[in-house]
């Protein structure tokens, strides 16, 4: 299994993925005229014998892939059974492990201050480091998506595959954050984690709803009509994200927390082309 990148990026080190660079892999890429100073080892001597001209034979370069898994560790992610953060960490670990196995450069990090401590890992042996880091990630990183992504972008200048695992419930909106990732020419995947309690809330009656992140409250009489309205709002919210992502070639993948992670990885992520 390997992570799929829909774009070809330049890597930093020799790896197993096509790079934009021409290099020394076994896969032929192109010919070009010899100019002075070129490495004589790259001249195709068979052509010279046939055409009596010097051509250089170019090969594809194979480099590593930068893979970033960005976990939203805000308080809202600590909701549901299992919690959305737990599912997000499982997904990040699974994808990171796939990356590590394929010698990619993997960086799994939480948005916010915790992300600064995230190590960049490579090789299967780094799995434990990654898992230790994930263990240390806890909810309470109440930074907005945009701030978190901005902080990530400033710290990581490279391009690659970025998987944002979040519930996207940010009162400032998710759009600016995704735009920033796109602007960094990242191949962006959005894994939208929602718990069943959010999609179909089991509460009824006259309630005062309290936001766990900012303590904001909303009074509502939860009858069937209100719930119907809420579900329509949720659908509309998901629809708007899908539309936003489709327009910007962002792969959108809704994830429900009651679905087992192995099912998500082996089935849904494969179907959506995140792994193969």
């Amino acid at each position: 299994m390997e992570l799929v990148s829909r774009k070809v990026f330049r890597g930093r080190m020799k790896g197993e993925r096509k790079s934009k660079r021409k290099g020394q892999s076994v896969e032929f890429h192109d010919f070009r005229n010899y100019v002075a100073g070129d490495d004589l080892r790259l001249i195709d001597w068979n052509l010279y014998a046939r055409l009596d001209q010097l051509f250089l034979k170019l090969f594809q370069e194979e480099e590593d892939l930068h893979f970033y898994a960005l976990i939203d560790a805000s308080e809202s992610m600590n909701f549901g059974t299992p919690t959305k953060l737990h599912v997000a960490k499982q997904l990040a670990a699974a994808l990171g492990y796939v990356g590590l196995c394929r010698a990619d450069r993997v960086s799994v990090q939480a948005l916010g201050p915790m992300g600064r401590q995230a190590p960049a890992l490579r090789g299967r042996a780094s799995l434990w480091k990654m898992l230790n880091y994930l263990d240390s990630v806890d909810s309470g990183e109440n930074v907005s998506l945009f701030e978190g992504v901005k902080d990530f972008s400033l710290r990581n200048s490279g391009t690659g595959v970025a998987v944002l695992i979040s519930d996207l419930m940010d009162k400032e909106g998710y759009e600016s954050a995704l735009r920033m990732l796109i602007g960094r020419r990242m191949d962006v995947f959005v894994m939208h984690v929602l718990s069943p309690e959010e999609i179909d809330p089991p509460i009824r009656g006259d309630r005062r709803l309290i936001d766990v992140e900012d303590g904001d409250s909303a009074e509502i009489t939860l009858n069937n009509y209100a719930l119907q309205k809420y579900q329509e709002t949720v659908k509309s919210f998901i629809g708007s994200i899908k539309q936003f992502c489709a327009k910007r070639s962002i792969a959108y993948l809704p994830v429900r927390t009651e679905t087992p992670v192995e099912t998500i990885v082996t089935k849904y992520l494969r179907e959506r082309g995140v792994v193969r």
Partner: protein, 721 residues
């Protein structure tokens, strides 16, 4: 469909109408929201924004709880308006309910689970429920006495309470009193004669419906005019009944062999089919004898049992047969041991009387003392008379100053006037006692001279004793209250004998010769025992719980020399000792000692006790004991006689007397419902009772309301949980 509002005050209705408004206001004001944490209010805020559009109407439209509450209140309002359907209304807005609570109403007819009385109460209750606010009703219960349980009122609650207070009794039935009570307002009486043109009617007649709930088992009422009362007879029960009844049960101790007692019972079949069963006799609760009984419908039979006992005993006869009316399936009687009676005889000398009281038979039950008339003046006599020590005092041709506190028997003399206590009368009375024979002659002559006036000797004395001159009316009234001679002295021929009276039992008197006698007239209540051509020659009258018997002729007269001569051949007849035995038994009270009397339920029982008993108690066997206080002379009035049974009058642990309470009323035992009753000149047929029944819906409305409240609570619990 019509409504009978439970609340008629407009203010109250307005307040009720404000209740739903109040609920809606409270719904918003007192809304208690339970806090709950959500990951983000981001999406909820969007939802709430949508809901804010028409939020008030949305809440009202979608809040099931509020709707349920409002619906419950609405149904409660409907219930308060008391919706119902009434088939037909009566013509008049005043109703008199007459409910029969006599013994026959205890009948539980076939195919019925409740008694006639309970069914009548249910029917009346339905009528009460169907009343409107403008209707008023009155409730009268009747058995052998009537009771106005509730006067005219429109208050249904009071009528219901009054109806609940009416209970069934064991009494017989007499509807006349109830009809008179119902008659009052419907047919107001005039204050004077009808022909008096100056008279104005004292009150307007208020016509009313008279609803009689009864089985019709009462005597036809003839002296009553319904007038403005519109009578309806609602016949309770059916004519197809089954009832076997004991209509008589008594005991008689054999005078020859006192230990032998005979018990007699009469059993009648008042049902519509023949019945064969057994009658069981128990003595003191122990089985004694049983006899098979087979009686055709409408027939009767007699049973007799012979018992050997010398002691007091209570006997119960039970029919082992379950029928519609149970109270007459059991009869009670009692048996007391023979006891002596004490007789005081004041006589100047009367050998036949003495011999008659000293026969072997009378000596067993009699302890007689003989004194001459001069004994009347002694302190000893006065004490005996005042204490009522003797069970009977016989005054032979003499009379005391004052009547003693015991039963008396006057032979050839009259009891003294009740209100004359002047010295002159006393003197004259004394004179009459001293020379009884002499004094009667002039009076007889006087009466003979003034036959029209009919003024007897004592009355003449009374009139003379009043020098101030009382009015004629007073004199006439006084005369009516006293014993007096009704005719001058003459030979007597007997005409009639009251054979049904106990004192006259077994007597054959028509061969009697009476040389000289006079008719007697007594105070109100006098019973003529022997009638003759000169009037009543033997009469008995009650006096404050005692009885006075007067014989209008002497047994032994005195001739001019004062020698005794016989005035009659009675002493030579066989009837003489029998008569004296009857006197001892029934006037002196010896008979009470042989067999307990039977009274009807509710009847006041009057018995005499020995003076030594000061604090007797009355106990119904199987019931509780009641302490009673005897009156002067040991007379006892017992009024708690509602329940049939054997009653013991006890002095401590000693039995003083026995009596029994039994229904013994063929009118009550004949329980077949009468289809038509006669009141005055009108016949009232039984009517169907189901036509006017009002169907009430308010109870269903209340049940629906409770269901709604339960549903509301369930919905609420589901939401909060």
């Amino acid at each position: 469909m019509n409504f009978v509002p439970a609340l008629t005050n407009p203010l109250a209705l307005l307040l009720l109408a404000l209740v739903p408004v109040g609920i809606i206001i409270l719904y918003f004001l007192k809304l208690k929201r339970e806090p709950v944490e959500v990951p983000s209010t981001y999406l909820w805020s969007k939802t709430i924004e949508d809901l804010h559009v028409n939020s008030l109407l949305q809440r009202l439209r979608r809040s099931l709880l509020l709707l349920l509450q409002l619906l419950a209140v609405f149904i409660a309002l409907i219930a308060l308006l008391r919706p119902g359907y009434r088939g037909e209304s009566t013509g008049q807005d005043r109703t008199v309910f007459l409910i029969d609570n006599s013994a026959s109403m205890q009948t539980v007819d076939r195919n019925e689970t409740v008694s006639r009385f309970e069914k009548a109460k249910l029917l009346i209750l339905e009528k009460i429920e169907a009343m409107t606010d403008s209707d008023s009703a009155m409730l009268i219960s009747f058995n052998d006495r009537s009771e106005t349980v509730q006067a005219f009122t429109s208050d249904r609650a009071r009528l219901r309470d009054s109806l609940n207070r009416v209970t069934i009794t064991n009494h017989s039935t007499d509807i006349l009193g109830a009809l008179k009570a119902a008659d009052g307002l419907a047919n107001p009486r005039r204050s004077s004669e009808i022909a008096d043109v100056n008279d104005v009617q004292v009150a307007d007649a208020k016509p009313a419906d008279l609803l009689i709930y009864s089985d019709g088992r009462f005597q036809t009422v003839v002296e009553f005019n319904l007038g403005n009362l519109r009578a309806e007879y609602i016949a309770m029960g059916s004519s197809d009944v089954e009832n076997l009844a004991i209509t008589a049960f008594s005991t008689e101790r054999n005078a020859e062999r006192p230990a032998e007692v005979q018990a007699f019972a009469t059993i009648e079949n008042f049902g519509t089919s023949s019945v064969s069963t057994t009658a069981t006799l128990t003595m003191n609760g122990q089985f004694l004898d049983a006899e098979a009984v087979q009686i055709e419908a409408g027939e009767q039979t007699g049973l007799s049992f012979v018992i050997e006992t010398e002691d007091a005993a209570t006997l119960t006869l039970t029919l082992d047969h379950e029928d519609d009316l149970e109270i007459d399936n059991i009869a009670y009687t009692g048996l007391s041991p023979l006891r002596n009676v004490s007789i005081l005889v004041i006589t100047p000398g009367n050998t036949p009387l003495k011999v008659g009281l000293e026969t072997e038979q009378t000596a067993k039950i009699c302890n007689a003392s003989f004194f001459s008339p001069s004994y009347l003046q002694t302190e000893d006599y006065k004490k005996r008379a005042a204490d009522g020590t003797d069970d009977l005092i016989i005054y032979d041709t003499c009379s005391p100053d004052e009547m003693p506190l015991t039963n008396t028997f006057f032979i050839g003399a009259l009891p003294p006037p009740t209100s004359t206590k002047s010295g002159r009368n006393k003197d004259e009375s004394n004179a009459s006692q001293a020379t009884a024979n002499d004094s009667t002659e002039p009076n007889a002559e006087q009466n003979g001279q003034q036959p029209d006036s009919g003024l007897p000797k004592n009355d003449a004395a009374t009139a003379d004793a009043n020098p101030a001159g009382a009015s004629d009316a007073n004199a006439a009234n006084q005369r009516d209250l006293n014993w007096r001679w009704a005719s001058p002295e003459s030979s007597v021929s007997l005409i009639d004998i009251e054979r049904s009276h106990p004192l006259m039992r077994y007597l054959e008197l028509f061969s009697l010769l009476i040389f000289s006698g006079r008719g007697v007239e007594g105070p109100p209540g006098t019973i003529e025992l022997v009638g003759a051509d000169v009037g009543a020659i033997l009469a008995i009258a009650p006096r404050d719980g005692f009885q006075d018997m007067v014989l209008g002729f002497e047994i032994i007269s005195r001739d001019e020399d004062g020698s005794p001569v016989t005035n009659t051949n009675w002493y030579a007849e066989r009837s003489w000792p029998v008569f004296l035995l009857n006197v001892l038994r029934y006037l002196a009270g010896a008979a009470d000692a042989t067999g307990a009397s039977s009274f009807q339920p509710g009847e006041t029982v009057r018995i005499r006790l020995e003076n030594a008993i000061t604090s007797p108690s009355v106990t119904r066997i199987g019931g509780s004991s009641v302490d009673v206080t005897p009156g002067p002379g040991g007379s006892l009035e017992i009024i708690e006689t509602e329940v049939p049974g054997n009653y013991r009058v006890e002095d401590g642990s000693k039995l003083a007397d026995l009596f029994a309470i039994n229904l013994f009323d063929p009118q009550e035992s004949a329980i077949a419902t009468v289809k038509e009753i006669d009141i005055g000149y009108e016949s009232v047929a039984s009517e169907d009772t189901t036509v006017e029944q009002r169907q009430e819906f308010w109870r269903w409305a209340l049940i629906a309301m409770l269901g709604l409240i339960a549903a509301e609570w369930w919905v609420y619990s589901r939401r909060v949980a």
